[in-house]
């Protein structure tokens, strides 16, 4: 049986999803996540280098998802947050091991490694970072 649903898309994003691998402009110090091909300020004058982000940050804003997309039905209600990382970038991720009412803006969080979704009973399991209360 072949399972092609987003297989190559998910595979290409393994470094950023598994290790929070972003990049940093050696010229101006700006940090990007997901990694960018060009620095947004320096453009072609910037030199981008891989940077592993520490995963610490705080909740900038969040929402509780109660009508989930396919594959997320068993995790509702779950919290989707925009997290401001210590290094600067804002990143979107799920907050796990909490009830929505336990989450607040400004809450310190750290990243963990979790299952995100699975392609049915026979397909691949997708893993990535999520956040938990720090």
């Amino acid at each position: 049986m072949t399972h092609r649903k987003s297989l190559s898309l998910n595979w290409r994003r393994i470094p950023e999803r598994y290790q929070l691998l972003g990049n940093e402009c050696a010229t101006c110090g700006a940090v990007f996540f997901p990694p960018r091909a060009l620095c947004s300020k320096c453009r072609r004058k910037g030199t981008l280098e891989d940077k592993k982000l520490g995963g610490l940050g705080e909740v900038f804003t969040f929402t509780a998802v109660r009508s989930p997309p396919e594959g997320f039905e068993h995790q509702i209600p779950y919290v989707l947050a925009i997290v401001k990382l210590k290094e600067g970038p804002f990143i979107t991720g799920m907050v796990t091991d909490v009830e929505p009412q336990e989450v607040s803006i400004g809450m310190p969080v750290r990243s963990v490694f979790r299952r995100i979704s699975e392609d049915g009973k026979h397909g691949v399991i997708n893993y990535a970072f999520k956040f938990v209360r720090a």
Partner: protein, 345 residues
């Protein structure tokens, strides 16, 4: 001198009380908790599995050992609950900890002792100079058939160990004891394991743990008096205590590693989480004995001695006890949902 350079634990935050499980199945709670010496067990969240638990434990081991993950040249993940039948958990782990791609990796299976088998493989590879550092991980998200005796203790958790030179705990020696014993098994495609009931005690657990430990003591010329801390595989709190009694080991030498009482039997994680907790609290110069047990059946014994390198290591990453203390209780219905015991199709 070779041994453990860094170690890391991880235990999921959810717990279910043994008396809650007993209530659902109409059993007398006191009878069950007294019989096992276990009051609650750790339960993985819906989004946790052997890969995610292994990654958290491995990251803690790297922090504690302050080892660059690119220097880890071998990673073994021992478990009986690998997420895939074909597709290695170890490949996911090495990618997530940044050890990929120049290393060897593999999944090991030997019921609850696969993680200690990995420790022996790493020790051999480090000692021979084949790798600078090897990492072994023992993790499970153990499942008991609903209503079965094993459901009261089958728990989730794991621990990771980096093996190399300049250790915080030298592995002085190791040995094993292996036979074909049908005490516990799971056939291909079967959802839950089966066990030989009373057969799991005398010819399986006790024989292997006791004989393997005796072999190590005689091989190293060590007496029970010389050992400060002892960890045996913990299917419940009663079995390791009885094995200790058979070997003349006083209960106070077992207490620090007896993590089963409040998190349950984490299978491949069990003796290794006990060892992690013992190392968290160890001072230089302590002698530690570990004997794992895996059904089928076999035991691996290790004699360790902590060195001055261990000072200050515990605080570099969350301790085993901090994970044991961090908990949220579930009722049986939610537990059944997140452990995928409710069938939808």
């Amino acid at each position: 001198m070779f041994g453990i350079v860094g170690w890391g634990a991880y235990v999921p935050q959810f717990r279910i009380r043994v008396d809650e499980i007993a209530r659902v199945w109409g059993r007398e709670p006191r009878e069950i908790t007294d019989g096992l010496g276990v009051s609650e067990k750790a339960v993985a969240n819906y989004d946790e599995d052997t890969a995610t638990i292994s990654v958290e434990a491995a990251r803690n081991a790297l922090r504690r050992g302050q080892v660059n993950s690119k220097k880890i040249a071998a990673v073994f993940v021992g478990s009986e609950s690998h997420p895939y039948v074909i597709k290695p958990t170890a490949a996911t782990v090495v990618e997530a900890i940044g050890a990929s791609p120049y290393l060897t990796a593999g999944d090991l299976e030997f019921a609850c002792k696969a993680g200690t088998a990995g420790m022996q493989a790493c020790l051999g590879m480090a000692k021979s100079g084949m790798v600078e550092y090897g990492m072994t991980i023992g993790t499970d998200t153990a499942q008991g058939r609903p209503g079965d005796a094993l459901e009261y203790t089958a728990a989730s958790g794991g621990a990771a160990f980096i093996v190399g030179a300049k250790p915080a705990a030298e592995i002085i020696d190791t040995c094993s004891y292996t036979t074909d014993t049908p005490d516990f098994w799971r056939r291909e495609g079967a959802e839950y394991p089966s066990h030989g009931g009373r057969f799991t005690g005398e010819p399986a657990y006790f024989k292997h743990v006791v004989e393997c430990t005796k072999q190590l003591l005689s091989k190293t010329g060590t007496s029970v008096k010389d050992i400060d801390q002892v960890i045996f595989h913990m299917p419940n709190a009663k079995f390791p205590s009885r094995a200790a009694k058979l070997l003349g080991i006083p209960p106070e030498k077992m207490e620090r590693g007896l993590v089963v009482k409040s998190i349950g039997n984490t299978y491949s994680g069990s003796s290794l989480l006990g060892l992690a907790r013992v190392l968290d609290q160890a001072k230089p110069g302590e002698t530690i004995l570990v004997t794992s047990f895996g059904s089928g059946a076999g035991s691996d014994s290790f004699l360790l001695k902590t060195t001055k390198e261990i000072a200050g290591l515990a605080e570099r990453a969350p301790t085993t006890q901090s994970y044991i203390d961090r908990k949220k209780y579930l009722d049986y219905a939610v537990y059944a949902k997140i452990r995928r015991k409710i069938k939808h199709e």
